[in-house]
Assembly symmetry: C2
């Protein structure tokens, strides 16, 4: 069992909260109305919109030191829906890791629609959570949370692969918005 | 029915050849031993490794003028397996389109493993061919070839989206190489 904090109580925060609870972990779930409350988990999942990361870094950097920090964000430019807001050769996760040098930043959950975390499936496939990061233990800890809930954890490589995870998610969101993929489906990983 | 030329007789060339034949189209299939033979199709599918595009452009630019040219390539740096060989803010398809200003360049088939084109399925899902391009008629022509073979055609947007299609494919190849996805599976699109 792990102590897990989740920042965010939106669709994704709720879905990840449900997932974590299935595994029997201790969960602390906070949102902006609990901004004064320090995070207590060893794994801190930032289930917030990308734009909220700046504020979290500014207010919680010290609290996040030494912890596994999970970035689930997709930095989609929703004004144009034609680009990401991070440099093409980088990623939201890489930027977060630079801001939090004392934390172990892991990219995960950004390629999963909330509904597929709740149901545990994408079509007939078990929902796969793609996990990228530079710290093997941190990735394994996140993978344990995923598999304890009955989902599939897939090690997608180093944190550099967050770039491809964010590209995949951007494409998935844009196809779902165009009704070419469903919000309860998306890309399934067939092993 | 369309007149279709396929350059390349490798795994992908054969799989796409089989697909095109299913739709009852006229097919001309060439490889490097037919370098002297001009392409006759209205749709020309470049089923070659990315590195071969330079030579095709140099020798066939005139022949490709006015035609729909389908780029299926993935510019993976196979030396490092950690990057693409095209600029991060571009794509192989965007580079090809710049080299062939008189052609209608479409990105398609690069996110499909050959086996899934032959079987028509990824797991229990019908194989979806993601198609990106700036010319609606050219995309529709490629979509017709795909759907005539019983596969699903998905309009993924403008040619700019080739960047995400190449990122998805790179991730898919790297996961399959690591035995985390199967070469007969990959990412299925769940509608």
């Amino acid at each position: 069992m792990a102590n897990i904090s989740i920042l965010g109580t939106g669709n994704m925060g709720q879905a990840i909260g449900g997932l974590v609870a299935k595994g029997g972990h201790t969960v602390q779930q906070l949102n902006t109305s609990n901004a004064d409350q320090p995070v207590t988990g060893d794994i801190v999942i930032l289930a917030v919109p990308h734009a909220a990361l700046t504020d979290i870094v500014a207010t919680r950097r010290e609290q996040l030191t030494g912890k596994v920090v999970v970035d689930i964000t997709n930095p989609v430019d929703f004004a144009t829906f034609d680009d990401l807001t991070v440099p093409a050769d980088g990623s939201a996760a890489a930027e977060l890791a630079r801001e939090l040098p004392g934390s172990k930043v892991v990219k995960a959950f950004n390629t999963n629609f909330a509904g597929t975390l709740a149901t545990g499936s994408v079509g007939t496939e078990t929902t796969a959570v793609l996990i990228a990061g530079d710290d093997a233990d941190a990735k394994a800890a996140v993978a344990d949370v995923v598999t304890a809930a009955g989902l599939r954890a897939v090690d997608a490589g180093s944190l550099k692969r967050a770039r491809e995870l964010e590209a995949l998610a951007f494409l998935q969101i844009s196809l779902a918005a165009g009704e070419k993929l469903s919000w309860t489906g998306g890309f399934a990983a067939v092993a």
